[in-house]
Structure formats: C-alpha cells, structure tokens
Amino acid sequence: MMLIPCPWCGPRDEIEFHYGGQAGVAYPQDPQAVSDQDWAEFLFFRDNPRGEFAERWLHAAGCRRWFGLRRDTVTNRVLDSDDTRTVTQ
C-alpha cells in the first residue's frame, strides 16, 4: 500500500487515488489537423520507463484534484510531488 502525497490532503493510502498514467500528454491543439499516426500516439502510446516516471494521480476519494508526481517504477518510491496546487478557475 503506497502512500501517495496529495498536495492538498497530505499523504494518503493508494486506494484513495485513481491512477492517470503518464503526465504531460497534451490533447492536440487541433485534433483534426494531426495525422492518424500522431492521433494514435495521443490515444494509445505512453512512456513506460523503468525508473523515474512523471505521472498523474487523482485523489478520487479525497479532494477530487488531479496532480502530478514523480515515482521510481522499480522501487515505487515517490521522488517528489507536484506542489503547484493548480486550482481550476
């Protein structure tokens, strides 16, 4: 049971969270303009590193905020978490 540091609620048990995979995969600015290949990249291709991984988590059973953190996928150790606390406007 990993302890996931929610930037708002503090460290909580992993079961309170929903995993969102790789961070920073932006929705294409104009999807109609990208090639099928690039669209497939957006839909289905994600980094899968052995080691440091920047990823997204949602504190689903808590404050319902998405946030980012970096975790080592070999040790499962959290390296640091996104403390920018971006608030939806």
Partner: protein
C-alpha cells in the same frame, strides 16, 4: 505426570490440565502448552510420515520454523496444515498428524475475522531482548510505539533459556519491561501477533490471534509506521548428515525452549551435535534437569573454555573435532555414529564410535530472521563469521536489531535493540536518552564452523541426507539437479522443490544455498538465497477477507424508495453497486408474464419507475456551455434555458461510453444525467478534462445524484396522474412541451419535473430531495391507483426502450461502437470544430461503412425470443469452423405491443442489409430472422405527447 514433564518449572499452569486427542489417542497437557510441548511431555515424538519418502518424522523445532510436525486440526473446527509447535493447546483439541496434504472443512467457518488500521512512530517487530529494549527506548522518548510478537507472551528467547539479567531470572526483567510499557498511553502491545508482511512506505501487516472463543478469532493489523525496528530473532539451523531426519532429532535451542518454557524434556539419554557454542547450554540445562547427556559432538577442533569446564564439572563427554555421520532407529533415533572430522579434512574418518541415545540435539548455527527486512527491500550479504545471511543495507526508516541483525549474545542484543529504538525515535524528531540496560554477563561466543553437510561413509549419493525435511529434498536431489545442468539456486529449488513447503524453507533455505555452494564449488554469497516473500507465516484466507463477507463484501447502494420495492416483492438487479427493482411479480407470475403486463400498462395506461440511481451532475460556470460542447457529441450551447436534450459521450477514441440528458437550468448552469453504473466514472472523466486539459474553462462540477430522488411516470395517462398531485402545474403539451423541465409542487413538495421519455410514451420524471422520495412515490401510486398505475422495473424499461430502438450503453455497446454504428449520427454535431471522439471517426477502420451497426431483428417465428448474445451468420447451413460471423444479438425480448419476439443486433453493414434474412444461433441450431430498422414502434413519435 509423565517422566518427560518436570514437576516444576516452565510457564505452564499445572493447575489447569487440558485434555486433547492426537491421532485418536487421548492425552493431557496444561494451559500454556503448545500441542508440540504437550506431545513431547507425553513421550510422543513422531507426528507424521514424510510426504515423499513416507519416513517417520517428529517434532524438530519449537516455533514457526518447524519443518516436520504438521497437523490437521479436527476440533474445535477443521483447519489444515498447522505446525504442532504453534498450536496453542486447548481443552477438547483434536488433531491428527499430516503426511503433507491438509483437509478443508466442508462446513462454513463460524468464526469472525476483521482488520484494524493503526499508526505509530515506531513499530518494533518482536519482543525478545532487542525488541523490548527498542520499544522501551522509543517509548521513553515519547514516541507512539507498537510492539508486536508472535508469541502469547513477550520475552522472546529469554523465556526459553536459563539466562539471568542483572543477577535475576530473565523473566523478572521481562515482567518489569512489560509493566513499564503498560504505563505509556501511547504504546500498544500486541502479543500473539505475527507481522507477516512489510510493504512500501513502512506499511506492515500483522495477524493477531485473539483466541478461538474470542468475538473476533483473528485480526489483521494494517500498520503504518514512521520507523520500523525488526527485532525478529533468528532460527537455528539443523545439520545435514545421513539419517538426520529421524524422530528424536531436535534443534538444540528448541530442546532448551521445551525445558524452560514448558517444563518438558525431550528424552532420557541425549546426544548433542553442534558446530557452534549455543548447543552447550542445552546440554548443561538438560543435564541439570536430570537428563543423561550421552556426549557433545563438536565439529570444531576444540571446546570453548567456559563450556568445557561447565561440561566437565557435570561429567559430560565432549567429542571435539568430530561429527555425527549417521543415525539409526526405527520410529525414533536409538543410536548415532560419530567419527573424527578435523576442520581441514574433506571427510570424517573411518573409525566410528556408536553412541546409544533416544534424542539427538543439533545446532548448525543461527540464521537471522531477515524475512521482513528482505521484504522491505533491505539488502543481504553472507557473513562468513556467522555462516548466515545478515542484513546489509537498510531501506529508509527500517533497521534490524538483536539476533535478527546477527548479534551473537544477549548483552549485544539488548544493546543493539536500545540503539535501534533510540535511532528510530530520533528519526521521528524525538530525543532519546541513553538506555540503562540490564546485564546478562553473556559468555563470549566463539565463531562456529560452517558445515553445510557431513560427508557420509555409507551414503555417498546423499539419499538420506535431508536438506529440506518438509519436502523430503536431499543432497542427492541437489546433486541430480546440478547434474542436469542447473546452476541457479532458483532452478535447483524448483527442480528439487526445496524450501517450497509450508515453512517456506525457514530451516532449509540457507542450508540449501550452502549445499549448492559446496557442490558447485562456488561461494555462498555468489549463490545467494531465493527471494523472501510475504507472508512470513501462513495466513488463513478468511482472516484476509476480514469483515468483507456477504453483503459487506461490497457496499449495497439503495434509493430512498428501496423499502417499497422490497415490500412489493420485487427481485432486484445489480447495476454497479446499486440494487434496482427488476420487475414486480403479482401472484405466481414469472418474469415474462410480469414484464408483459408491466409493458402493457405503460403502453396503454400508466407505469411508475424508480430512476433515482441515474447519475446527476450540476454543471455551473460561465463556460459550462462550451465545456459541454466539448464532452458531448452533440451541441449543448444552443439548448435554451428550460429545455432538455439527449446527449452522447464518447471517449477520445470515438467509442460511445455514456449517455444521458442535459437540462439547461439557466444561462450558466446545466443539470446532466448519466447511466446508473457510469456516474462516478463520468464525473471523474469530466474532472480530468476540466482540470488537466482545459483549466481555463470556468466550470464547476458537483455530484447531486443522491440529493434527488427521481420517479418516472410513463404512459398515456401519466399526465392525468401527475395532475392529481401537482394541481398547480401546467402539464399540457404546449404549456409543458416534450424535452423541457420546470419547477413546481408535487404532492406538497418542491419538485423539478422533466418531460422526457425513455419509452416513447408521454412521460414525466419527477425529482424531489432524497427524503421526500418515498412519500412522493406513494402519493403518485395512490393518485394513479384508479387508473391502474403499475410499478415497473428495469426489465420492462429495457423492453420499452428497445421497441423504440434506443440503445443501452454497455448492453448494446461494448466499447467498440461509435454513435454512427448506433444509427445516432443525428446526435453527432457537424457544426462543432471539435468534441471528444470526433477526430477518431476519420481513422481508416472507424470510417469503414461496413462496420457493425445497430439494427432490428425479427425472428421468422414470431413466438421465438432470440438469446441475447446469439451470433448472427449469413447462411442457414453452418460450414466447417471457423464460421464467419456478421454480428450478435445485443437485446432481445417478447413485446406486448408487437405481440412477438424482437431483438436489436450489431450486424456488419447492417443498415445495408435491412430486409435481408440472416440466421442466428439458438443452441445447436440456426433460426432465420429478418433485419429491420432498429425502431420497431411508433417511428413517427406520435405517442410522446399522449
């Protein structure tokens, strides 16, 4: 009292005798005994026969590491594969010896299990000398401490020895330590509790045995600790020699434990074979308890001086530079043969001394119990000094202390525990005072001779040299594995099944590495061990299931009207976690009859359904319209205040994943609905896009699913019913047009009423706050009674919508279906620049015009109802497989209004096939059906206004 139970001594209660049965014979033991100590006290050594070779096997250890003494508990309740050394004796206990396979009870387990979360600054695992000083030191610093020990009492190894601390019996100090721990309000003591797993971020799980008659038989503790001290002790290692498996052969430390803990001696004439110092204490203690010590055989060249004089004083024969090379005896050992074996000699000499004995104590050194340390991803290295694997490198906030860290003496264990406890406290930001430690005055320990196996003059293959007694794996087996080309300890373990039994190799693991090392001619460090995995000791499935049994397995969600449905005898359908009424049988109606009646009522009169389970989300903000335009396939920004629109949602891959209605509440506010099972997923998905892709959009989402109880009134007479309880509300088709909503008063309560229909009939949905749900429902039922109002369930709702060709997401779709496939291109905006899913529609495969499309299917035989899931093929005769399939039936019912069976199906290029005859599987045969449009009833929509 038997000759093996001493008149005094031990920690048993001689005033509380307990009767128990083993292998059908009745015996007596005492409160405080284990099954093993009670058996030994009765002179019973052999517990079972071995799994593979069928050899007699006896009690070898006194704790969880026991490889042999497996028993099946029969009473109080059947439980398989317990070790006699860990079964607490109880009155009426019945057990039998097991040769390897246990037996599960056929009756349900009546016991209760649960779990408990706990937090602490410092978790100390083990309450022996190191664990107690660690706990005391941390507790004195003010830390929140949990100290857990598998044994029923704290003290660990101190309870099984004759050791003295500060001149007094060790248990005096243990009592004082426990009493001191009792005084700290922030210390939790968990005796009888085995920590069996160590996971990330110092999350440890432990099993507490609360007693067979306790309210909760076992409890799983889920402990989150800031700092952990593993004071888990060590396990004595047996020695590998020919015939090392006979009953009567015990670990030396175990014999000491039986003596001091239970007042039991294992035999009358005891030989000892050791490679280190610790077995001497057993010899001396047993001698002092009146047991004859036949000889102490030490593989080292000389006897350590303090022990030499203690033994000589007692007239104990010492045989340094020797080894036991073989044993004899039928059901129990009766003789050992000893040969000279000096340290630098490859094999023992040929001259044998025969020594008669009924017990042989062995000690091959001690393996630190590094299981949890290793689970926590701590490193290990092989210590040549100890001849064992010891911790080498700790993960953050984890440390080992005492013999678990390789400390050889009680004094060193006490000090190392105090040190670990202090460092743990300091790591928590507390100040730890140097501990005032008791002194054991331990004699210095001389290092042992690491002996992996004693070469045998009679057994050159090693067929009777057992490495793992639990699996009957011998040196010969290891030789065979190596001979087959195996070099990795993992392969050899698998080839021989070494260390895979109930004890997971607690006595055999390191030994196996050593034997492999020797046979391969490598170093033990290079060979390594196999991975230590949770659980440390076996845990019952039921204990891990805990309270999550029956209805508590997964939460049951109910609506505010639930009890009414129960009172009407409705069976329920599971939809996600919700319970939804399926249909309402009257008299002895079966489901088909009930559903035909309910459908008929809605089509010709009026029906009422509880639709409170639909997900409801309040969407507010200046950019709400723009946001909804992005997440629905159709346009929501053009919706007028007061109106409602059906909406489809696709994932970015273009596949339909939810649907519902969108009502515009005001310029900047919408109320949207989702499917019952999809509500949480949709909200999460919307938040994802809103927070991470479009944070510039000023929109807030709030779930209001349970705020509203929602009741659907459907049928040509629904208006009439509603008018009776909503007298002030304008309900005619112009004043309250289709796809609009209004606020008003229904049955005396503020309500929001929607004119939407999932059946094609005139229909209303009435929403009131949760607590008025049942009241308003009953008012509507009462008002509708003269009109024959009929409650209907999910099945009828499904039939009615299917007659109208409306899909159910998840039933008529499976994650591979686009809006176009559903024939719902009308719900996909052509005007919007973008919405989720749009880009995917132009991919090669998604743009195909011959994709599977939702169509109607009318069986040639009108009485026939096709099976949902039936496959559709082109021809009436089946060719040899694989048979090309056109698609499958997604929904199929008997229709009251059509007076026949009908179905919806996803069929390849289905819309081009309308009018064609295809064939659907029905058991082993095919039945003909005609492809039709997917709307079967009231295509013109004439009925929706009543």
């Amino acid at each position: 009292m038997s000759r093996f139970r001493l008149r005094t001594g031990g920690r048993i209660d001689r005033d509380r005798p307990l009767r128990f049965t083993f292998d059908g014979r009745e015996y007596q033991g005492y409160e405080g005994d284990t099954l093993a100590s009670a058996l030994l006290a009765n002179g019973v050594h052999q517990v079972a026969t071995s799994i593979k070779h069928g050899r007699p096997r006896g009690i070898m250890a006194a704790g969880v590491e026991e490889p042999n003494a497996l028993v099946q508990i029969e009473k109080p309740f059947p439980e398989p594969m317990q070790t006699a050394t860990t079964v607490r004796l109880a009155d009426g206990l019945e057990a039998t010896g097991l040769p390897g396979q246990g037996r599960l009870a056929t009756d349900p387990d009546p016991a209760r299990y649960d779990s408990m979360h706990a937090h602490c600054d410092v978790l100390v695992v083990g309450a022996g000398p190191a664990g107690l000083t660690a706990a005391l030191t941390a507790a004195r610093s003010g830390a929140r401490v949990i100290v857990a020990d598998a044994d029923t009492e704290f003290g660990g190894g101190l309870l099984g020895t004759s050791e003295r601390l500060d001149g007094a019996p060790a248990d005096t100090w243990v009592r004082q330590a426990v009493a001191e721990l009792d005084r700290y309000p922030e210390v939790r003591q968990l005796p009888g509790t085995t920590v069996f797993g160590h996971y990330e971020n110092n999350y440890l799980v432990a099993l507490e045995h609360r007693g067979e008659h306790a309210h909760t038989r076992q409890r799983v503790w889920r402990i989150r600790a800031r700092e952990v001290v593993h004071a888990t002790g060590s396990h004595e290692r047996p020695l590998v020699f020919s015939g090392n498996d006979r009953p009567g052969i015990l670990l030396a430390g175990a014999a000491r434990t039986y003596l001091h803990r239970y007042g039991v001696v294992p035999g009358e004439r005891v030989a000892v074979f050791t490679t280190d110092d610790s077995a001497y204490a057993a010899a001396v203690d047993l001698h002092d308890a009146g047991v004859e010590i036949a000889a102490v055989v030490d593989a080292r060249g000389s006897v350590p001086p303090p022990w030499e004089s203690l033994c000589t004083e007692r007239g104990i024969t010492l045989m340094p530079g020797s080894a036991v090379v073989t044993t004899s005896g039928r059901e129990r050992i009766d003789q050992v043969r000893v040969a000279p074996w000096w340290q630098d000699e490859a094999a023992p000499g040929a001259e044998h001394t025969r020594i008669a004995c009924d017990t042989l104590l062995v000690s091959g050194g001690w393996n630190p119990a590094v299981h949890l340390h290793s689970q926590a991803r701590g490193g290990l290295c092989f210590s040549e000094d100890l001849g064992a694997f010891v911790p080498d490198g700790y993960p953050p906030s984890v440390r080992s202390a005492g013999s678990a860290a390789g400390e050889p003496t009680t004094d060193a264990c006490l000090a190392s525990g105090a040190d670990a406890g202090a460092r743990a406290a300091v790591a928590c930001g507390l100040t730890a005072e140097p501990a005032d430690l008791p002194r054991a005055g331990s004699v210095p320990v001389r290092s042992g001779r690491t002996v992996w196996m004693v070469p045998s003059p009679t057994d050159s293959t090693g067929d009777t040299q057992y490495v793992d007694l639990a699996r009957d794996a011998t040196v010969a087996d290891v030789r065979r594995a190596i001979g087959a080309g195996m070099e990795s300890v993992e392969h050899i373990k698998r080839y021989t099944t070494l260390s895979t039994a109930h004890d997971q190799g607690k006595t055999s693991g390191t030994l196996a590495s050593g034997v492999i090392t020797e046979l391969l001619g490598r170093s033990t460090g290079e060979i390594g061990t196999t991975t230590f995995r949770a659980p440390y000791t076996p845990v019952a499935f039921a204990a891990l299931a805990g309270r999550e049994r029956g209805d508590l397995y997964d939460p049951v969600r109910v609506t505010s009207i639930h009890d009414w449905h129960v009172e009407q005898g409705a069976p329920f359908e599971d939809v996600g976690q919700w319970k939804r009424p399926w249909y309402y049988p009257r008299g002895d109606e079966d489901m088909e009859a009930a559903v035909l009646r309910e459908c008929g009522a809605v089509r010709s009169g009026v029906g009422i359904q509880d639709v409170s389970t639909l997900g409801k989300i309040d969407v507010q903000g200046p950019d709400a319209a723009e946001f909804l335009d992005l997440v629905y396939t159709n346009k929501m920004s053009t919706l007028k205040v007061g109106r409602v629109r059906y909406g489809l949602m696709c994932h970015a891959d273009g596949m339909v994943f939810d649907d519902g209605t969108v009502a515009r509440v005001d310029e900047h506010r919408y109320l949207i609905t989702t499917t019952s099972g999809g509500a949480a997923g949709v909200l999460q998905w919307l938040e994802d896009w809103l927070q991470t892709e479009w944070p510039h959009l000023r929109v807030h989402l709030t779930s209001v699913t349970e705020h509203w109880a929602t009741i659907a009134l459907a049928g040509p007479r629904s208006r009439e019913v509603l008018s009776r309880v909503a007298p002030g509300m304008e309900l005619d088709k112009d004043g309250f047009p289709f796809m609009s909503w209004k606020d008003g008063t229904v049955a005396g309560h503020g309500a929001r009423v929607f004119r939407i229909s999932f059946s094609g009939e005139l229909a209303f949905e009435v929403s009131v706050p949760w607590w008025h749900g049942r009241e308003v429902w009953e008012a509507l039922v009462e008002a509708g009674e003269p009109l024959g109002i009929t409650p209907y369930g999910t099945e009828t709702m499904h039939v009615l919508r299917a007659e109208k060709g409306l899909p159910i997401v998840g039933q008529d779709t499976d994650g591979t279906v686009t809006p176009y496939d559903l024939g719902m291109g009308w719900a996909v905006s052509k005007k919007k620049d973008d919405f989720l899913g749009k880009r995917s529609f132009t991919r090669a495969d998604t743009a195909r015009t011959d994709r599977k499309q939702l169509v109607g299917l009318l069986p040639a035989d009108p009485d026939l109802v096709l099976a949902e899931g039936a496959q559709v093929v082109e021809h009436p005769e089946l060719p040899a497989p694989p048979v090309p399939m056109l698609g499958h039936v997604t929904s199929s019912y008997r229709s009251a209004v059509l007076e026949r069976g009908f179905a919806l199906a996803l069929v390849e290029a289905g819309r081009d096939r309308i009018g064609d005859t295809v064939h659907a599987t029905a058991g082993d045969r095919l039945v003909a059906a005609t492809i039709t449009d997917h709307v079967f009833y009231d295509k013109e929509g004439a009925r929706r206004d009543g």
